[in-house]
Point group: C2
Chain length 234, copies 2
DNA sequence: ACCTGAACACCGTTCAAGT
DNA sequence: ACCTGAACACCGTTCAAGT
């Protein structure tokens, strides 16, 4: 036993970033601290600074790890099939944001986009350009689709239920638990309560809701280029 | 001079919240600390805790102050004019988020919606219900519009320029400054660079971009209820 | 009822030193 | 080249005390 500390993996930028991502997924963005990260790596806080300039760069790093998980639109596919390709990318982006909820407020706020982010948007714009969209419309489509996915993910974090069944239960509980408080709310916000009550009995499905809005937007996008009304083959 | 500290306003929940909002606007969300807030109010940190349970409640409070700035759709208007009303509300929400950029990641993430938030969404759902939208479609429309506005505001925070002229300058500088780096980027991300270059020379206008996407979505919304194709009168 | 003082358990990060 | 120790200037918040 001449070598000491044989059980600890040698630190590397990649190991640091991956551990940070694991912590963020488990503890949320507020729970990710340099000090916790260092202790989980069996190391003193300052050891991290050899592999990462500071916490900001650490976050840039893990945000790009998240971007790398988003499936880009298939570049080898038929250009006329831009719509299913764009749809699948939007769904993949949303699923990725669901796996890393802490990232939603950060993905587009980071000032220095990483290589995975650039590659992702390059693939997206390539898909649209090859399909015949103008420069300007390529920007419009990217802008509106990404905005929708982000905003939807942001909204989903607020609501206190995760599944359709749960939505009904939660509303039912609220209704039975505080009838007095509810009566006051109903007086002040009649339309809101009415819609929420209806929603609760019918059940609320995030996936279906997301896809309804997505298809509504894709219909609008398709109208931007009337030459091709939806791909040639299928 | 028998009374001491005559110049300091007496603390109140409202004063605390308004001061916190001012600091958040000036310093960003990370710059808003209980300690800075207390010194700006000429008081010891612990004094705040008489008026606000903790920092989380403080943030809930200022987020609701922001909601109160959003213009609700006019309830007294012609129900058939739901489209301009919805459009104006989306624009107002975006302008509010521009005035308080720190709030974008927080407005929909807060778990306990405040009264201004509830009132805002009640007005929105009332406008849609009176216009004849079904419960389910009212939810669809609210969901897709809010998601778009949030996501757009989130995206706008990333980009390193604010005005159309600036966008051209920034791109021009990048182009002249690091031609070698740019060449490498162009090789790896050809579509992205091509679109960005085109955008830079033509200029990029956030307001126009936002309204293009908004109108695309409103077209889709209008197709949800074919009975009224755009209001009766005008 | 409202504010203060001192303290606790945390942060990110610098600087000089160890191996 | 990589990691450590001690320190600094910050956090939010509790608890007991002042007026």
């Amino acid at each position: 036993m001449s070598t000491s500390k044989p059980d600890r993996q040698r630190l590397s930028r990649d190991l640091v970033l991956r551990s940070a991502l694991t912590i963020a997924d488990r503890e949320g963005s507020a729970g990710l601290t340099m000090r916790l990260l260092s202790t989980e790596l069996g190391v003193v806080p300052m050891a991290l600074y050899k592999h990462v300039a500071n916490k900001d760069e650490l976050i840039d790093g893990i945000v790009d790890l998240v971007w790398a998980e988003v499936e880009p639109p298939d570049a080898s596919g038929d250009p006329a099939q831009w719509r299913p390709a764009m749809r699948a990318r939007a769904v993949s982006l949303r699923e990725t944001l669901r796996r890393h909820p802490w990232a939603v407020g950060l993905m587009e706020t980071r000032m220095r986009p990483g290589p995975a982010n650039l590659a992702q948007h390059n693939a997206m714009m390539g898909c649209l350009r090859r399909a015949g969209f103008s420069f300007r419309n390529t920007v419009h489509v990217t802008s509106v689709l990404d905005a929708y996915v982000y905003g939807f993910a942001l909204q989903q974090q607020t609501l206190p239920f995760d599944t359709a069944e749960e939505s009904g239960e939660v509303a039912q509980q609220k209704l039975e638990q505080q009838p007095a408080e509810l009566a006051e709310l109903a007086a002040r916000f009649p339309y809101l309560i009415e819609v929420v009550a209806e929603l609760a009995t019918a059940g609320y499905d995030y996936d279906a809701e997301f896809e309804t809005g997505l298809d509504l937007i894709l219909d609008g996008v398709q109208r931007l280029r009337p030459e091709w009304v939806g791909g040639s083959g299928a």
